[in-house]
Amino acid sequence: MRRLSPVAVVALLVILAWAVAAILAPLIAPFPPGRIVTRDTLADISARFPLGSDYLGRDMLSRVLHGARYTMGIALVSTTLACLMGVTLGLTAAARGGWFDMTASRILDAMISVPSLLAALVVVSSLGSSIPVLIGAAAVIYTPGAYRLSRAVAVNIAAMDFVTVARARGEGTLYIIAAEILPNMILPVLTDFGLRFVFVVLLLTGMSFLGLGIQPPAADWGTLVRENIEGLSYGAPAVIMPALAIATLTISVNALIDRIPGAGQGDSR
């Protein structure tokens, strides 16, 4: 393993910091996120409210910390689900080929051609917007991308002679997938996971911004931007801070992936 570049180290630290913040939010947040603590709405940064206050006078630091739980938590669960489904399907398609590969590829390719935000809107229009629906929708929407990548990587590996040798030895499909193909896919699958995580974060915050994502009183970073948007005209920290939170997280993940040698680029949102 080569040493990471300084940029990658910084990016990794930012991601870890947000992860820790999300986990420890209830312990480190100075106020309960829903409590109105000041009359001074959309206030500027102060010693008492390090990130200012929101449009109702709630503490922004507490809200951003708790927002991290929603944004990162939902994104993490959705991305994990999407990658698990995508990789499982992709590996099976690559190892088995035939009708399974054909059908799966056709359907999932068709799914890719529905832009992600559009797909999310369609699902929400029917099922309404709740956290399980959002997680399920994001997972399903990003499964085809994970499938396509892992299938392509697996097909390349499956064509290698060492897999042919294993076949000739009489090994079963399961052994070939688990012992011969999977260990060689870890890097591309991990980087793909990172990319997809960014896409999910962008999708979720976008939905929240449209008012079609996470519903109050729960608030992720997208919701925080939306509800305080009136503070935009005078640059209130209540709008800028959650926006910055999103940007630091997504840019860090992307920058980290970009610095990993041999990592691929994302295909479609």
Partner: protein, 602 residues
């Protein structure tokens, strides 16, 4: 005679993994007189191409020319500006690449590309450049020289394309031509035509050239002087005849020895009980039609017998179906017709239908050790798997056995914990072989096991194969495109052409004429390690790779073809008195007449 081209103290470096820079070419110097051809010879990684490219002031991505001097005529190449270098390249120094197929832009007509350098450098106007190109096409014995330039690269054969690169290089009458392994990617029968064409234009135009190759026999035909390289350093420099007759450096001697491996006497009499019997095999790729024939048939009616403890060699040009044959026997590709018997019992067509014991007895070893070993697992894991799978060996017993296997292929046990990426090419191929041995097989299918290795390393692996065969009583199906390799290890030989078995003979009888006309062409095309062989070799037929569906597959290229018969009627199976079977319309007497034995056989 003052030197026309001179190089001294040349040093090229790459960024090393541990930081700093490592030299890949170090302190190389030589001089070339006008009209002389100098060869750079060495195995892969010895820095041949790097030196050749440095002659044009060019270094590949990551490389840097760090020192030395290169003079061409009055020009100091390494002192030139970017514009000066662009003026030099293609104008005064021209380059002929290894793979013509990759070096041509698929989107442009051949004429555009051949005349490009003359036009870039303003040497000739368009009409004059095209006239000159046609003249060069003719000199290179290309078909339809007048209209050839209108075609696109994918519309001509590989050998023709390689000759067109020569026209592309010579269009600007360069002071120096660099030929970088220009025939390595070609089949032998194509190589000879290309060599002949190159040689005649180089001689005719009194071209000064650097010829880069790993193949001493080829170089012996082309070069006046030879420089032997190893690890980026010069080992020996001598005139060709002298270097071949009296090599001074031990490394040169090893190279020469590897060229002609000693022919072993057959160990197993063919009368031994048959281990593998193959009859009437038909196989191919693509969906099967209604008659059960695959859409892309590759093998046609192939049959042979491998007696226990003996080696059958399979020779043929690229794409003739050698690997396909190995895949069918291994059960990876079910045959459309025919059967395969192991020890008298029929083997099911698919891996899935074979018993574990049947699978264990036949193992397969592939050409490229790079892709044959799983890069994510250690050597020990790789070797332990067949032990567990076939023999249920685990824990300490498996450890001991892995060490024993490594010892068997002459590798130190300390290698066991490494990943394949940390092994050299020769070591990988030994591990590859040890994995097959772990099953304790009776038959090993060896698909070009030495082709990717350098000559000296390949010869050592070949020796190992021979020893193991004797020690363990193994049988091999040994696939190769290289005649001398096959001859050195095999008891019987089968020659394939477009999936048909044209000749099947004892190894000792292979060089005995009369033989099948294709065998004759194949053998006559293999360069010999002596100067002047090329001039004496029989003129070959233009290698039009057309499949003749109706009659003899080889008819379009056969010098002895009988018009009206060979192109319409499939040839019968014939026995020759030397103990060979061939597919040909001509009988032994006629063949002898067309193949007078006055040509020297290697």
């Amino acid at each position: 005679m003052s030197a026309h081209v001179s190089v001294s103290g040349l040093r090229v470096t790459v960024a090393a993994a541990e930081g700093g820079r490592a030299a890949i070419v170090d302190d190389v110097g030589f001089a070339i007189a006008r009209g002389e051809v100098l060869a750079l010879i060495g195995e892969s990684g010895s820095g041949k191409t790097t030196i050749a490219l440095a002659m044009m002031g060019y270094a590949r991505q990551g490389c840097r020319i760090d020192g030395g001097q290169i003079r061409i005529g009055e020009t100091d190449v390494l002192a030139l500006s970017a514009a000066g270098l662009a003026g030099l390249r293609g104008g005064r120094v021209a380059y002929i690449p290894q793979s013509a197929a990759a070096a041509f832009n698929p989107a442009q007509r051949l004429m555009t590309q051949v005349t490009e350098s003359a036009r870039i450098h303003g040497l000739l106007d368009r009409a004059a450049a095209e006239r000159k190109a046609i003249e060069l096409f003719r000199a290179l014995a290309l078909p339809e020289p007048e209209t050839l330039g209108e075609r696109f690269p994918h519309q001509v054969s590989g050998g023709q394309l390689q000759r067109i690169t020569a026209a592309m290089a010579l269009i600007s009458d360069p002071d120096l031509v660099i030929l970088d392994e220009p025939t390595t990617a070609l089949d032998v029968t194509t190589q000879i035509e290309v060599l002949r064409a190159f040689k005649s234009v180089v001689r005719e135009r009194n071209t000064t050239a650097i010829y880069v190759s790993h193949d001493l026999a080829v170089v012996a035909q082309m070069a006046d002087r030879i420089v032997v390289l190893r690890h980026g350093k010069m080992q020996e420099e001598a005139p060709t005849a002298q270097l071949l007759a009296a090599p001074a450096h031990p490394y040169t001697r090893a190279l020469l020895a590897a060229f002609n491996p000693p022919v072993r006497a057959p160990d197993a009499p063919p009368e031994a009980a048959p281990l593998l019997e193959v009859r009437g095999l038909v196989a191919g790729y693509g969906p099967a039609g209604r008659d059960g024939m695959p859409a892309l048939p590759v093998l046609h009616d192939v049959g042979f017998t491998i007696p226990r403890g003996s080696v059958l060699g399979v020779i043929g040009e690229s794409g003739c179906g050698k690997s396909t044959l190995a895949r069918v026997i291994a059960g990876l590709l079910p045959a459309a017709r025919g059967n395969v018997k192991l020890d008298g019992a029929e083997l099911p067509a698919r891996v899935a239908d074979r018993t574990r014991d049947q699978l264990r007895r036949v193992q397969i070893v592939f050409q490229s050790a790079d892709t044959a070993l799983n890069p994510a697992r250690s050597v020990r894991d790789i070797l332990a798997r067949p032990l567990a799978f076939y023999h249920g060996l685990k824990g300490d017993a498996a450890r001991k056995r892995v060490d024993a296997l490594l010892d068997m292929v002459r590798l130190p046990a300390s290698l066991a914990e490494r990943p394949p990426g940390a092994l050299s090419g020769g070591q990988k191929q030994r591990v590859n072989f040890a994995r097959a041995l772990a099953a304790e097989p009776e038959l090993i299918l060896c698909d070009e096991v030495t082709s990717a290795l350098d000559a000296v390393v390949g010869a050592a692996v070949l020796d190992l194969l021979g020893e193991l065969k004797r020690e363990l009583g193994l049988s091999y199906l040994f696939i190769s495109h290289d005649l001398s390799t096959v001859r050195s290890i095999c008891d019987q030989v089968m020659i394939l052409y477009f999936g048909r078995r044209l000749e099947y003979a004892r190894s000792g009888a292979m060089l005995v004429r009369p033989m099948h006309p294709y065998s004759d062409l194949l053998i006559a095309s293999v360069p010999e390690m002596r100067t002047g062989w090329l001039e004496g070799a029989a003129p070959a037929h233009e290698a039009t790779v057309v499949r003749n569906a109706a009659g003899c597959t080889f008819a379009p290229r056969c010098a002895a073809a009988v018009p009206g018969l060979c192109d319409s009627t499939p040839p019968p199976l014939r026995q020759l008195s030397k103990g060979a079977e061939i597919l040909c319309h001509l009988d032994e007497a006629t063949l002898r007449h067309t193949q007078p034995d006055d040509r020297k056989t290697p």
